[in-house]
């Protein structure tokens, strides 16, 4: 299995398309950092205008921690797309170029193949989020320096002392990996039904966008289903930047995401083990 996983990763990382994701993350982060470097102070004053009369904030406010947080907020929709770009292509992309036919004439089980591809997609997701951490957090820290982090929320702002921030980021990135693994599992599930990679990628994004809208709508008719939508739990990482971290809520969100991941993976195995390969 390890040898097969190595080969699967080799295939993924020899494709130019794979590096688009890393390029997009890098470009977005750098653009954001440039923007914050030139107009960050005005941006912050605009965000603080409602409470500036009650509070006098001083020091290195536009620091690496704040910039990294803003970058993560802005990439909420893009990162799932970048994960789907690879995970959605795992089965359908191979069906499209015809190699799935050849792969499945070899003496490996379909279950093995799905598990290897899922493991490879998860490793890709981990590397992408790690790269995001390097570019968004560590590069921002290198450019803007350290400082206490101000987390601007719609109804409050939270001040986190600089010595209390880094562990929160580590946990947030860990949670993001879990959330994005759910996206990878969803993409792979859709990939099992398709014979070209574009369909599952678009379908994944469609599902994420529609469910995210549903999750954010405060309408009574959706309130009943909101707690069960995985998109409502994908933003659980933000909890690590509250003054009192809501561990119970984060654990619950992580459980829901794990449940969805297992469900999508199980669905993929069930369907793919019965699918006629006509491509």
């Amino acid at each position: 299995m390890i040898r097969l996983l190595q080969l699967e990763l080799y295939k993924i990382f020899r494709r130019p398309r794979t590096y688009i994701s890393f390029g997009v993350v890098t470009a977005t982060a750098i653009i954001f950092q440039l923007a914050m470097g030139s107009g960050g102070k005005e941006f912050f004053e605009f965000g603080m205008q409602d409470i500036s009369e009650q509070f006098n904030v001083q020091g290195n406010i536009i620091n690496g921690y704040l910039v990294a947080y803003l970058i993560l907020q802005s990439l909420l929709i893009q990162i799932p797309l970048l994960v789907a770009l690879v995970a959605g292509d795992t089965l359908a992309g191979e069906a499209n170029i015809g190699t799935l036919r050849l792969v499945l004439t070899r003496p490996i089980t379909r279950t093995q193949l799905v598990l290897i591809k899922f493991a490879a997609s998860t490793i890709y997701t981990i590397l992408l989020i790690t790269w995001l951490a390097v570019i968004a957090l560590f590069l921002s820290l290198a450019i803007f320096g350290e400082g206490d982090m101000i987390n601007l929320k719609s109804d409050a702002f939270v001040m986190i002392l600089k010595d209390d921030v880094i562990w929160r980021y580590i946990c947030a990135f860990g949670f993001a990996i879990l959330a994005m693994t759910t996206i990878a599992a969803l993409s792979m599930f859709l990939s099992a039904f398709a014979d070209n990679g574009i369909g599952p990628i678009i379908a994944t994004m469609g599902i994420v966008v529609v469910l995210t809208i549903l999750s954010s709508l405060e309408l009574p008719m959706f309130n009943a289903i909101n707690p069960y939508l995985f998109t409502a739990h994908m933003v659980g990482w933000k909890g690590f930047f509250d003054a009192d971290v809501p561990y119970a809520a984060i654990r619950h969100s992580a459980f829901i995401l794990l449940l969805y991941t297992g469900g999508f993976l199980g669905g993929t195995l069930y369907y793919f083990n019965r699918k006629d390969i006509n491509s």
């Binding site: 020899r14 499945l104 004439t105 003496p107």
Partner: protein, 310 residues
């Protein structure tokens, strides 16, 4: 002799269309088994079922004495295959492709074996080039190398000469002969180019609209008792009336301005010639044909006629 593969009464229906109907056959060790049929006859579907790519609706597939199903995919270690087009990872080199597919087995295959199989298919020296730079013929050769690399007992080649130039076709033909003759491989090869099968197969099966319409040794299927005899005559028009009134009429299967075609026993050819001359017909040539293609076409046409009659 124990068969390597036994297909027992398999049926596959796609959206109410019978792709394969109640098909049974066996492939024995050492056979070069020709799988003949027009496009859409069910050849590829049958091969896909044999490889576990498609699941039959009913029937059994037995590989080396064990029933094959999705839970027994390890039996595929005995089979190497290339189905339809030789599709590979174009952004990787030939060597990388070979290495990846070689790893998709349950045992480790040394690099020396990879080199040997590249040598065998004539790709040595080009293995470091990306596959997207390969010609179709080279891809086909690499596909065969992939099918051979784990040293299977049975090689399945679906339309291996499709899209190749004449030299490529001759090379593949020679490779199939060599695999059987020099390496003791059993080969299942399909084609709609019947003369290709005729030149390499020892046994064959004719498939038409998902049904087996003939199977056996090539020599048996050729049926030496019946031949298509083309007689060049001047003129053909007048003699047709005389033939219509004679005992030759049931054997006349075709007529044009200067040619008559009979289906008859080869011993009757001198008698027919004599009768034509005695009836004042100028015979310019007599040619007897008995290629597999004629036989195949007659089988499929008869089957189509029978189907229409039903």
């Amino acid at each position: 002799m124990e068969p390597i593969v036994e297909i027992q009464n398999i049926t596959k229906v796609f959206k109410k269309i019978n792709a394969v109907s109640d098909l049974s056959f066996s492939i024995h060790k050492g056979d070069v088994y020709g799988f003949l049929g027009q496009n859409g006859a069910g050849k590829s579907t049958t091969m896909r079922m044999l490889l576990g790519l498609i699941f039959p609706d009913s029937g059994r597939i037995i590989i080396n004495g064990q029933e094959f199903n999705n839970g027994k995919r390890h039996l595929l270690r005995h089979i190497g295959a290339i189905i339809e087009r030789p599709d590979m990872y174009g952004y990787l080199s030939g060597w990388d492709n070979l290495k990846i597919f070689a790893a998709l087995t349950d045992r480790s295959i040394p690099a020396t074996r990879l080199h040997a199989v590249l040598e065998q298919v004539g790709l040595k020296g080009r293995e470091k080039d990306k596959v997207k730079t390969y010609s179709y013929g080279m891809k086909q050769r690499l596909g065969i190398a992939i099918a051979l690399v784990h040293e299977p007992d049975l090689l399945i080649l679906d339309e291996p000469t499709n899209g190749l130039d004449p030299q490529g076709i001759a090379d593949i033909r020679e490779l199939i002969r060599s695999l059987s003759r020099d390496h003791g491989k059993t080969v299942l090869v399909s084609s709609h180019l019947l003369h290709e099968i005729e030149q390499v197969a020892t046994r064959m099966l004719v498939l038409h609209k998902g049904k087996k319409i003939a199977e056996g040794m090539l020599s048996d299927l050729l049926n030496p008792n019946e031949m298509l005899v083309q007689v060049g005559v001047i003129p053909a028009g007048q003699v047709q009336a005389r033939i219509a009134a004679s005992s030759w009429q049931p054997m006349l299967v075709g007529a044009s301005a200067d040619q008559l075609t009979f289906k008859l026993h080869k011993d009757n050819i001198p008698e027919l010639n004599r009768w034509l001359v005695m009836n004042g017909v100028n015979v310019t040539e007599i040619r007897s044909k008995h290629s597999l293609e004629d036989h195949f076409l007659s089988l499929t046409n008869d089957q189509a006629t029978a189907t229409r009659a039903i």
